[in-house]
């Protein structure tokens, strides 16, 4: 019984961690102030 509880706790923790990370996602950022280029850049 104790083993079953321990295994369930591990499983729940794994789901909780993954769901939290995916729910947080990644920041969208902001639009770059750099213009669309109309001259040939010297380097990348």
């Amino acid at each position: 019984m104790r083993a079953l509880i321990a295994a369930t706790a591990g499983l729940v923790l794994a789901f909780a961690l993954v769901l939290t990370i995916t729910a947080l996602g990644s920041p969208t950022g902001t639009t770059s102030p750099k213009p669309l280029l109309t001259t040939v850049p010297a380097h990348p």
Binding site: G10, A14, T22, G25, T28, T31, S32, P41
Partner: protein, 330 residues
């Protein structure tokens, strides 16, 4: 104590074993996406190209034609589209700016490409356009999906405004990176004149009145890193002709542009470095961490079972139970 440790190890073993497939099949598809605010530029060159001189209306060979391509993620526009699309969307405002050997503009084609940030499938929303003309893209453009497959894809051609298959032609090694090679051929197709022409006073409408039409064909080649879906190199064998009408002075056709367009060397090196570092991140999510966690889970489970087995060795005295108080007789 040994029993408690084995239970903790068992919980950790299940935690890591479960984390392995969850990370690969649940978290990765949701976390891997193109950032909405990404900005990137690219320079391509066609050496010894043929270019039409609009002054004399004759084609001539020039040492170099340069194409500057910029893609700029429009975060505000993507948030607007996301409200109706109900998914993560990227809006790229792009500009293909072609420069002649004298540094003057040959053509400029703006476009807006809207797509799913995770799958790179096009999303249709107001504002989607090529050179000001509304379009409804099918298929991919500029970038392949994460975990690109060895198969043909549908690829949007912005010049012809058509979608056509781009064929998987094999796996190659490009500067130490394993890449999938794709090729698309667009046969001679009548295409609209760019809204901005290099000669002042000439507009697409005034050219249309002369009866002259613009035709285009290309062989498009991409070398794509399959984990990130990012092209590390690209080439195009591109030809444009003007055909018929009074503009050509009785000639049947004249070459407007012909050249073998290739990425500039410094941009190739930069792209390869960038893709290599992004590739490591994808590998971390799809391979290194899932397999590592699975191995760790197996190790912890073995350790837990070992401790449990040691705790139950035959012949070893059972843990002493609390002695019951002896009955007291009065």
């Amino acid at each position: 104590m040994r029993r408690k440790t084995s239970l903790v190890l068992l919980a950790l073993a299940v935690f890591f074993a479960a984390l392995s497939p969850l990370l690969r099949h649940y978290a990765f598809p949701r976390l891997a996406k193109i950032p909405a605010g990404q900005y990137q530029d690219m320079v391509l060159e066609a050496k010894d190209a043929t270019l039409l001189d609009y002054g004399t209306m004759k084609a001539k060979t020039v040492p170099r034609v340069t194409i500057v391509q910029t893609l700029k993620g429009n975060v505000e526009a993507s948030e607007q589209v996301e409200k109706t699309a109900g998914k993560d969307v990227v809006v790229w405002d792009g500009l293909s700016y072609v420069v002649g050997p004298d540094g003057k503009m040959v053509s400029r084609i703006p476009e807006r490409y809207i797509f799913d940030a995770h799958t790179q499938q096009p999303v249709h929303a107001p504002g989607e356009m090529v050179d000001g003309d509304p379009v409804k893209r099918e298929g991919i453009e500029f970038k392949w999906p994460f975990l690109t497959e060895k198969r043909d894809y549908e690829y949007f051609d912005a010049q012809a405004r058509v979608t056509a298959p781009i064929h998987y032609k094999g796996t190659q090694n490009f500067r130490g990176v394993e890449v999938y090679y794709f090729e698309q051929t667009i046969p001679w197709t009548k295409v609209p004149f760019p809204k901005a022409l290099p000669v002042q006073g000439i507009t697409p409408e005034s050219v249309a009145k002369t009866g002259t039409t613009r035709w285009y064909t290309t062989v498009r080649k991409f070398w794509v890193e399959p984990l990130t879906g990012a092209p590390v190199y690209g080439e195009e064998i591109h030809r444009e002709e003007l055909r018929g009408g009074s503009l050509l002075g009785g000639r049947e056709k004249v070459t407007a542009f012909a050249g073998h367009v290739k990425m500039r060397e410094d941009y190739i090196a930069h792209t390869v470095d960038l893709v290599k570092s992004n590739r490591t991140l994808v590998l971390l999510m799809t391979s290194y961490l899932p397999w590592g966690f699975l191995g760790l889970g197996a190790l912890l489970l073995s350790l837990s079972l070992y401790l449990e087995a040691r705790g139950r060795r035959p012949g070893e005295a059972e843990p002493a139970k609390d002695a019951e108080p002896a009955p007291v007789t009065a």
